[in-house]
């Protein structure tokens, strides 16, 4: 079964990298541009994994993650936070919001793909 991954980012180029990387690796990719969009899409599409950018216009990625994790039927979906702040304590904030893992921008697509694969493999 093809795994569905929801990527949340407001920057088109960065969404496209993930689409190219993940579809190239055989995953199905769905997109969201805002925090609201992410929560709604996650509820509708039930992805197997979420790659959540933290700095988003309006509702930020931390709040979107909290809302996804607050819904019992979505709480089990792993969320990887993608942050460009890289300030001390960011990783703890992401963990507190319910994120399962954490990568900083700029990330190496190779390393990110390895992380996605290992998390999805752990799911099965």
């Amino acid at each position: 079964m093809t795994k569905r991954i929801l990527i949340v980012d407001d920057n088109e180029d960065n969404r496209q990298i993930l689409i190219d990387l993940l579809t190239g690796a055989g995953f199905e990719v769905i997109e969201a541009r805002t925090g609201f969009d992410a929560v709604e899409t996650a509820g509708r599409e039930r992805p197997h994994l979420v790659l959540m950018d933290i700095q988003l216009p309006g509702m930020d990625g931390l709040e979107a993650t909290r809302r996804i994790k607050a819904q019992p039927e979505l709480a089990a979906i792993p969320v990887i936070a993608v942050t460009s702040y890289a300030l001390a304590g960011d990783d703890r904030k992401a963990a507190a919001a319910g994120c399962d893992d954490y990568v900083t921008k700029p990330y190496s697509p190779r390393a990110l793909l390895a992380k996605v694969r290992s998390i999805l493999a752990g799911e099965d």
Binding site: I17, D20, L21, A86, K105, P106
Partner: protein, 455 residues
């Protein structure tokens, strides 16, 4: 300006007032008595003029009129309870005035006026209870005197005696009224002073509250400025990294053949793009770190970790670079070390910077990292067999945007920020970073310390 010296009498008066504070009752009685007693004596002398009077009586009258006001004053003033003493002296006055009936030859009207005078004075200073006591004392002496001298001998009142007795009573009342007026004025003044003082205190309080509010506002403004600074830094970090993410990410995707097979020449060029991207990233990181330090937003995330493990993983991340340059990269740890309390990410950054520099500037030979500890601190040193640093550059290399001799360092790249940031990070931990040894063409040893106990 020289202060005027108080006169001896004024000083004595002041000292006495401190040692024996004058009870207001005593002061009132003295004023009333100084005027009233001599007048009463004059009245008796006038009334008895021409009558046979024993000498001792004249002496007693003189003593009462002249000496008694002073004696009574000092008795009351020096007494343990001045008020009680003043009351007792007043009772003595009442007894003397009770005798006035007999002394005036039982003239009823002047005696009555005189006794009313003293009794109203007594009531004025001592209230109803003292008045009743005064009536009793005065009455007993008067009745006893009347019996002793045979009442029937009572002479008719003459006009002068009546007039004089009225004058005595009037003077008593006048003195009391004046005293009461003075006291009232004093009270009003004191109340005004208290009001002024309280107004001053209220004003001072208001000023203090205002100052506190201003301080609080300044504090809020500072907090807001700090918040704005950290927001700006976070935004800058985001804005700079987002496009760089696309550059590095796409380069890697293309290299990995995501968009089809990559010709060899293109692959090599992409390698250059990726390297430049990574250089730009480290430069952005350094500038952001420095901005954070300057803005006071650089926070350490202190937790215990193993310095030896940290050193070997930092060295491992640079092993490929060492291999590429054929430089031997080794790590030496002195025995078992206790965990260090520090920001692991930042200390790693410092070590990677030092080892990275050593590898960058060394063309052949070795780079050795050693970790040791003594009773007070941990020490990490990085020794290389590079070109060394001439003594005139030993200080400058730690300054922002400075490198040693630019003719040799320019080809090696770098903005000259890394070492300055590393020094600041170590100092924030309470440690020291320094160039320990350096000789041209032989090599350099950099080292930093971290305290075992965080203060």
């Amino acid at each position: 300006m020289q202060e005027r010296k108080p006169s001896t009498i004024a000083r004595l008066r002041h000292d006495l007032a401190v040692v024996y504070p004058v009870h207001p009752m005593v002061r009132i009685n003295r004023i009333v008595r100084v005027v009233g007693c001599p007048l009463a004596v004059v009245l008796v002398i006038v009334a008895r003029w021409g009558e046979p009077t024993p000498r001792w009586l004249w002496a007693a009258l003189l003593a009462y009129g002249v000496a008694w006001p002073q004696v009574a004053y000092w008795l009351a003033r020096l007494a343990k309870s001045p008020k009680r003493a003043a009351y007792l002296c007043l009772m003595f006055d009442c007894a003397c005035f009770g005798a006035s009936g007999t002394l005036l030859g039982n003239q009823l009207v002047p005696s009555f006026v005189l006794m009313t005078g003293i009794l109203t004075a007594v009531a004025g200073v001592g209230g109803i209870s003292l008045f009743l006591a005064g009536v009793a004392v005065l009455g007993v002496v008067f009745v006893a005197g009347s019996f002793a001298t045979d009442w029937r001998e009572a002479a008719q009142s003459d006009l002068l005696t009546i007039f004089l007795s009225l004058a005595v009573a009037f003077v008593f009342q006048l003195m009391l009224a004046l005293q009461a007026f003075n006291q009232a004025r004093e009270l009003i003044q004191r109340r005004r002073q208290i009001q002024e003082q309280s107004t001053r205190i209220i004003e001072q309080n208001e000023a203090l509250e205002e100052a506190m509010q201003r301080t609080e506002e300044a504090h809020h403004a500072m907090e807001a400025a700090n918040l704005a600074k950290s927001r700006f830094l976070a935004n800058m970090s985001h804005e700079l990294r987002t496009p760089l993410n696309a550059i590095i990410g796409y380069t890697e995707l293309i290299q990995d053949g995501t968009y089809g097979e990559v010709p060899e020449r293109v692959g090599a060029t992409l390698g250059r793009v990726e390297r430049s991207g990574r250089n730009l990233l480290s430069l952005i990181n350094e500038v952001l770190d420095l901005s954070k330090i300057e803005a006071g937003q650089f926070k350490l995330d202190i937790a215990p970790f193993s310095l030896a493990d940290m050193a070997s993983s930092a060295v491992a991340s640079l092993e490929s670079l060492a291999k590429e340059k054929r430089i031997t990269l080794t790590t030496a740890v002195a025995g078992e070390l206790p965990p260090v309390q520090a920001d692991e990410r930042r200390v790693t950054q410092v070590l990677v910077n030092l080892v990275g520099n050593a590898l960058k500037f060394t063309d052949a030979g070795e780079v050795e990292v050693s970790v040791t500890a003594d009773a007070t601190e941990f020490a990490v040193t990085v020794r290389d067999t590079g070109p060394g640093i001439a003594p005139e550059f030993h200080e400058r290399i730690f300054e922002e945007f400075q490198q040693a001799d630019t003719s040799t360092t320019r080809p090696k790249g770098g903005a000259g920020l890394g070492l300055a940031i590393a020094k600041r990070i170590v100092e924030m931990h309470g440690g020291k970073l320094a160039l320990l040894r350096s000789e041209v063409n032989i090599g350099s040893t950099f080292g930093f310390t971290l305290p075992r106990e965080r203060s």
